[in-house]
Amino acid sequence: MLATSGVDKVSRAEVYLWRVVLLGAFLILWEAATRRGWVDPFFVSQPTVLAMQIADWIRTGFIFRHLVVTMQETIIGFLLGTLLGVAVGFLFAHWEKLARIFDPLMVALNAMPRVVLAPLFILWFGLGLLSKVVMVVSLVFFVVFFSTYTGIREVDRDLVNNARILGASPRHMIRHVLLPSALTWIFASLRTSVGFALIGAVVGEYLGSHEGMGYVISYAESMFNATGVLAGLLVLMAAVIAIDIGLQRLDARFSYWKPVPK
């Protein structure tokens, strides 16, 4: 969601009204264009057909099976990637030498387009869950690693010195100073990394799988079924929006100590 500035005095209700009106107009135009033969529904499907398709998927439970698979890969990959990113970020921030030795490697690895690597992952780790998880980890890891590393490197020197004077042991330092400081950076990148995680899982499925949302879309595509592709995308979109709302709530809970966000 875009941040609304205080200067803009448009009321909330008015904004919502406009959104609904615009979306409604778009759907009506789309429906009309396909019904009147301006555009061939073979290519762009039709809102009513799409709605029926999604309703059908929900009724038969077909979509939930695939959605669960995708979510599983996303969540497992995300957790592993985050854990790994935080651990390596900590290690590198702690041992300067390590960071300097591995810096070019990290940059090179991060520069590699993971989407192109996906076929290799499928070759190495099979068509199942594992290859998708690896794909997700490869995306999430770098986002989390770089924010953890920066978070610890950028920690307020006065705070570290103060903790030393106040008698903090190295363990105290990690627990009460470094980790909380890094957490703010990790949280700031959380929405990016979750987005990456889902993309990773779906792309992995799309390129080689027998279940999951990526598979649903890829299968529909191979049948030249525009309705199937678009319906699959709509379901994914809904999932992403739901996750994003959840994350915003979580972020608000964890950043209670921060001044009012800009």
């Binding site: 307020d156 006065d158 705070l159 010195n161 103060n162 903790a163 030393r164 004077i165 106040l166 008698g167 903090a168 042991s169 105290h172 009460h176 100073v177 909380p180 209670y256 100590w257 921060k258 001044p259």
Partner: protein, 260 residues
């Protein structure tokens, strides 16, 4: 003692303080004044054991300074409060670090929060407090573990004059009650005279001791009223004569970008 730092990207060293030597008695309130960039803060960092010393030595009670000393407190220029912790958690942190169990820490924390007049604000986070309140929390955080020596690096520099005077009086009161040794760094001569037993005047960078003055104004003092004491103006004039040349030199150097 002398402190040199290697200048990154330059093939030379920067001498922050040079041949500085003075003694501080137990329970004494000593201020260090000098132009900006004269190494006052460096000096405190050395005494605190935060930075290893290049040459010379510092000892506390006959023990050479070798790393951070547990009997020492440090109030930083910027209030180095932990933003993710509440007022009570901040004040209690040194006790937690020192392994004091929660049951005996609680009354000590409550006592200090009361002494700084922040009862009722225990669950607030630093960003919800005013500058003066944050400074008081920083002070309580230092005092709660009863350090024998308290180092203060321009602690009230960022406060408005009224708040500042109140805090200075609070500090004097706390000091009078516990008689800890205080080493107070400031660039404000009036503040130094009003608070201290002795004042060390430093030269412009590299900082050396230019002169040491004993301030024999009567105690207990109120920083707002001691200024009207007949000796105050005389002391101010004498010390300022020493200080002003250094301030000018320091200013010229900082304009040339040489001072640290």
């Amino acid at each position: 003692m002398t402190q040199r730092f290697a200048l990154p990207r330059e093939d030379r060293e920067f001498t922050a303080v040079q041949d500085v030597s003075f003694d501080i008695g137990g329970g004494e309130f000593v201020s260090i004044v000098g132009p900006s960039g004269c190494g006052k803060s460096t000096l405190l960092g050395l005494i605190a054991g935060l930075v290893p010393i290049s040459a010379g030595h510092i000892s506390l009670d006959g023990q050479p300074v070798d790393g951070v000393n547990a009997r020492l407190g440090f109030v930083f220029q910027r209030d180095a409060l932990f933003p993710w912790k509440t007022v009570a958690q901040n004040v209690g942190l040194p006790l937690l670090f020192r392994g004091v169990d929660a049951a005996s820490a609680r009354p000590r924390v409550a006592d200090w929060i009361a002494r700084i007049g922040l009862t009722g604000f225990e669950r607030y986070h630093p960003h919800q407090l005013s500058g003066g309140m944050r400074k008081r929390v920083a002070l309580a955080m230092t005092m709660v573990y009863e350090p024998q020596i308290v180092l203060m690096d321009e602690p009230f520099g960022a406060l408005d004059v009224q708040t500042r005077n109140l805090m200075e009086n609070d500090l004097l009161e706390i000091w009078a009650q516990s008689r800890r040794t205080v080493v107070f760094v400031t660039h404000d001569l009036e503040e130094a005279i009003a608070l201290s037993d002795r004042i060390v005047v430093m030269t412009a960078s590299p900082g050396r001791v230019k002169a040491v003055y004993t301030i024999s104004l009567p105690r207990p003092r109120s920083v707002t009223e001691i200024r009207f004491h007949p000796d105050f103006g005389r002391l101010y004039e004498t010390i300022w004569k020493d200080l002003k040349d250094e301030v000018r030199v320091g200013y010229e150097r900082s304009r040339q970008g040489l001072a640290g």
